[in-house]
C-alpha cells in the first residue's frame, strides 16, 4: 500500500470525481469530497515524511520504467507543495457552504464536487509527476475544472471571467506545450531528470533557448506574473468565494512550483540566471507586480477583487524571492508559497462567511459588520495583518527571508522596496478595517456566520499565526527544499 502511495495521491481525487458524478446525491458526494480532501492530506503528509526521511521517492507508474514510462518523483519540495495543496483542499472542502454562491440548480451539486476533485487531482498531479508532458496534462485537467468552477458563479459576470481565464490559460498552456516540444526536440526525452542531464551540455542550443522562452512565458501566464495577470482579478472576484479561496491558495502556488522545478531541476540555475539572465527580467516584473497589484488593491470597491489584486502583488514577492537565486531568497519564495496559501485561503473563506450572510462582497455592503459578525471580522483582520507582514504572522516570516536575501546580495534598494510595498498592504487592509469597524452598519440584524463556516476559516487564519511563530514546518522545510533545489541545480 505505502509503496503505491504516489499513485494513490493522484488516483484518490481523480477516481472520486466520476464517482461523484455517478452517485448524484448531494450529501454523499459532499461527504466523499471532504473525505477525499482529508485523505489526500494524510497521503501527502506520509509522502512528505518519507521524502524527508530518505532519498527522493521514485515511483514508476504502471511499472513502466522511465524514460518511456511516466515517473512520479517526490522530494522535499514536492512533498511540501503536496501538503500545502491538500491542506487547503481539506479545509476548503470542509467549509460548510460550498455550493452557496454557485449558480447550480438543486440536485446538481455533485457536478460541482466532481469539478473540485478533478481540480485537486490536476494540481496534485502537476506537483508529483516527473514527466514534462504529464505536467501539461494535469495542468489542463486542473485548468479546465477551474474554468468550470469559476463559471459557476452566481454573478452573471462569472462566465465572462471564466472565459477570459480560459483564453489566457489556454494560451499559456499551449505555450507550455510548445516549450516542452522544443525541449523534447533538443533532448529526446520527456523525463525531467533525463532532460536535466542532457541539457547540461546544451546550454548553447538555440532550441533550448526558445524552449525556455516559451516555457517561462507560458508558466508566467498561468502564474499571473505581472503584466500577465489580467485574467486573475476577475476570475477570483466573480467566482464563488469558496472557489476563490481554493484557487488562490493552490492554483498559482502549484504553477510557481512548476516554475521552480523548471528553473532549478530542468534547466539549472546556472543556465537560467547565468546564461539567460532570468533575474534581469524577473526582478522588474516582480517589483511591478508588488506595486501595481497593491496599488490596484487599494482602490478596489469589491472585497474579493481587492484580495485578488493583492494576490497579484503577493505573487510578485514569490517571484522576487526566486530571482535572488540564493538559499534565503528561495526559502522566502517557497515559504511565502505556504504562507500566502494560508492567508489568502483564510481571507477568502472569511469573505465567503460575509457573503453567506450579506450576499455581496462590495465594500459598501459590508459596512459595520465588525459588530454583527465579530468572529468573521476578527478573522479577516488577523489575515489582513498577516498580509501586511506583522511579526508573529506568517507574512513576517516570508518578508524576513526576502529582505535578508536582498541584504545578503547587497541589493539594499530591493530590501527597501520590499518593505515599502508591504506598506501598501497596510493601506488596503486598513480600508477594509475602517469599513468593517468604523462605519454604521447597513442592516444591524445580520447574524454571525454558522460554526461550520467559521471553523475552517479559523483553521486557516489560526494557522497564519501558529506558523508565524512555529516555522519548522514552513520556513524550515522551505529552507531544506531550497537547499536541495540549489544544490541539485548548481
Amino acid at each position: 500500500m505505502t509503496l503505491h502511495l504516489p499513485a494513490i495521491a493522484i488516483l484518490l481525487p481523480l477516481l472520486s470525481a466520476p464517482i461523484c458524478v455517478a452517485v448524484r446525491h448531494a450529501l454523499v458526494t459532499r461527504l466523499l469530497t471532504v473525505a477525499v480532501g482529508w485523505g489526500s492530506l494524510a497521503v501527502s503528509g506520509e509522502l512528505l515524511r518519507q521524502a524527508l526521511s530518505g532519498a527522493p521517492i521514485h515511483y514508476e507508474l504502471g511499472g513502466f520504467a522511465p524514460p518511456l514510462g511516466i515517473e512520479y518523483v517526490i522530494d522535499t519540495t514536492t512533498g511540501y507543495v503536496l501538503v500545502i495543496v491538500s491542506t487547503i483542499a481539506a479545509v476548503v472542502f470542509s467549509f460548510g457552504a460550498t455550493t452557496r454562491g454557485a449558480a447550480l440548480p438543486a440536485g446538481r451539486e455533485h457536478l460541482y464536487y466532481g469539478a473540485m476533485l478533478l481540480c485537486l487531482a490536476g494540481l496534485l498531479g502537476m506537483t508529483i509527476t516527473g514527466d514534462a508532458f504529464n505536467v501539461f496534462v494535469f495542468l489542463e485537467i486542473s485548468s479546465l475544472s477551474s474554468y468550470a468552477l469559476i463559471g459557476l458563479g452566481q454573478d452573471r459576470r462569472a462566465p465572462v471571467a471564466a472565459f477570459s481565464y480560459l483564453i489566457m490559460g489556454t494560451i499559456g498552456g499551449t505555450f507550455f506545450l510548445l516549450g516542452i516540444g522544443f525541449l523534447y526536440q533538443a533532448t529526446g526525452t520527456l523525463n525531467m531528470a533525463d532532460m536535466a542531464e542532457r541539457l547540461a551540455s546544451l546550454h548553447r542550443s538555440r532550441t533550448v533557448h526558445v524552449a525556455f522562452g516559451f516555457l517561462t512565458v507560458g508558466l508566467s501566464l498561468k502564474l499571473a506574473v505581472f503584466p500577465l495577470h489580467q485574467w486573475l482579478p476577475n476570475a477570483y472576484a466573480r467566482a464563488p468565494a469558496v472557489i476563490s479561496a481554493f484557487l488562490s491558495a493552490t492554483a498559482t502556488k502549484v504553477m510557481y512550483y512548476v516554475l521552480v522545478r523548471m528553473i532549478f531541476t530542468i534547466f539549472g540555475a546556472t543556465f537560467v540566471f547565468g546564461k539567460m539572465g532570468m533575474d534581469m527580467a524577473l526582478v522588474p516584473l516582480s517589483l511591478g507586480a508588488m506595486f501595481v497589484g497593491s496599488l490596484a488593491a487599494i482602490f478596489q470597491t469589491d472585497l474579493k477583487r481587492l484580495l485578488a489584486y493583492s494576490s497579484v502583488a503577493q505573487i510578485g514577492y514569490m517571484t522576487l524571492g526566486l530571482s535572488f537565486n540564493s538559499v534565503n531568497g528561495l526559502t522566502g519564495g517557497l515559504a511565502h508559497l505556504f504562507n500566502h496559501a494560508l492567508m489568502k485561503g483564510g481571507l477568502f473563506l472569511a469573505v465567503a462567511c460575509l457573503v453567506y450572510r450579506v450576499g455581496s462582497s462590495r465594500l459598501d455592503d459590508l459596512a459595520g459588520l465588525g459588530k454583527c459578525m465579530p468572529i468573521t471580522s476578527a478573522a479577516f483582520v488577523t489575515g489582513g495583518l498577516a498580509l501586511i507582514g506583522v511579526p508573529a504572522t506568517v507574512g513576517f516570516i516570508s518578508k524576513w527571508y526576502l529582505v535578508l536575501a536582498a541584504l545578503e546580495t547587497g541589493q539594499y534598494l530591493f530590501a527597501g522596496l520590499i518593505l515599502l510595498s508591504s506598506l501598501l498592504a497596510v493601506a488596503y487592509v486598513l480600508r477594509v478595517v475602517e469599513v468593517l469597524y468604523f462605519k454604521a452598519p447597513k442592516s444591524p440584524d445580520v447574524r454571525e456566520a454558522p460554526v461550520s463556516l467559521l471553523l475552517p476559516t479559523w483553521i486557516l487564519i489560526g494557522a497564519t499565526v501558529v506558523f508565524g511563530l512555529r516555522t519548522e514546518l514552513t520556513a524550515g522545510l522551505a529552507r531544506s527544499a531550497a537547499m536541495q533545489l540549489l544544490g541539485a541545480g548548481s
Binding site: 501539461f136 489542463e140 462566465p159 499551449t174 516540444g181 523534447y184 526536440q185
Partner: protein, 122 residues
C-alpha cells in the same frame, strides 16, 4: 537544410500567428474560440511534424523484421492524442461559457459585454 526545407515549421508559425491574431483582434467570443483552436492545432502540427522521420514507416513492428527499420517516432503522435482531447475539452468548455454569456448578456461581443458590466457597476 534550407530555410524552405523546414516548410512545415513555417506552416506551424503561420497558423499560430493567425490563431493568436484572431484571439487578440476579434471581439466576438466565438471567433476568439476559433482563433484559440487554430492556435492549438498549430502546436499539434508542430509535434506531429517533429515526430515524422523522413522515409520512416508507421511505428509498427513488421512481421518479417529484417534489420533496422526506419519508422517515425511514435511518442509525439501519442502525446498529441492527449492534446487533441484537451483541445476539444477546451473548446467545449469555451462554447458552453459563450452560450451562458449569450443568455445573460444577449451578445457575444466582448467590448459590448464590458460596456454592459461597467454600466451596471456604476
Amino acid at each position: 537544410m534550407s530555410t524552405f526545407g523546414l516548410w512545415h515549421y513555417w506552416v506551424v508559425i503561420v497558423l499560430m500567428m493567425i490563431g493568436l491574431y484572431t484571439v487578440i483582434a476579434r471581439d466576438n467570443l466565438v471567433k476568439k474560440v476559433m482563433g484559440l483552436n487554430l492556435f492549438q492545432v498549430s502546436v499539434i502540427m508542430f509535434y506531429v511534424s517533429m515526430g515524422k522521420v523522413e522515409g520512416g514507416t508507421a511505428p509498427i513492428i513488421p512481421e518479417q523484421a529484417s534489420g533496422p527499420v526506419v519508422y517515425s517516432n511514435p511518442l509525439p503522435h501519442v502525446l498529441m492524442l492527449t492534446a487533441i482531447v484537451v483541445g476539444i475539452a477546451t473548446t467545449a468548455m469555451a462554447l458552453s461559457l459563450v452560450v451562458r454569456i449569450r443568455e445573460t448578456y444577449g451578445t457575444t461581443e466582448e467590448d459590448e459585454i464590458r460596456k454592459l458590466d461597467r454600466a451596471e457597476h456604476e
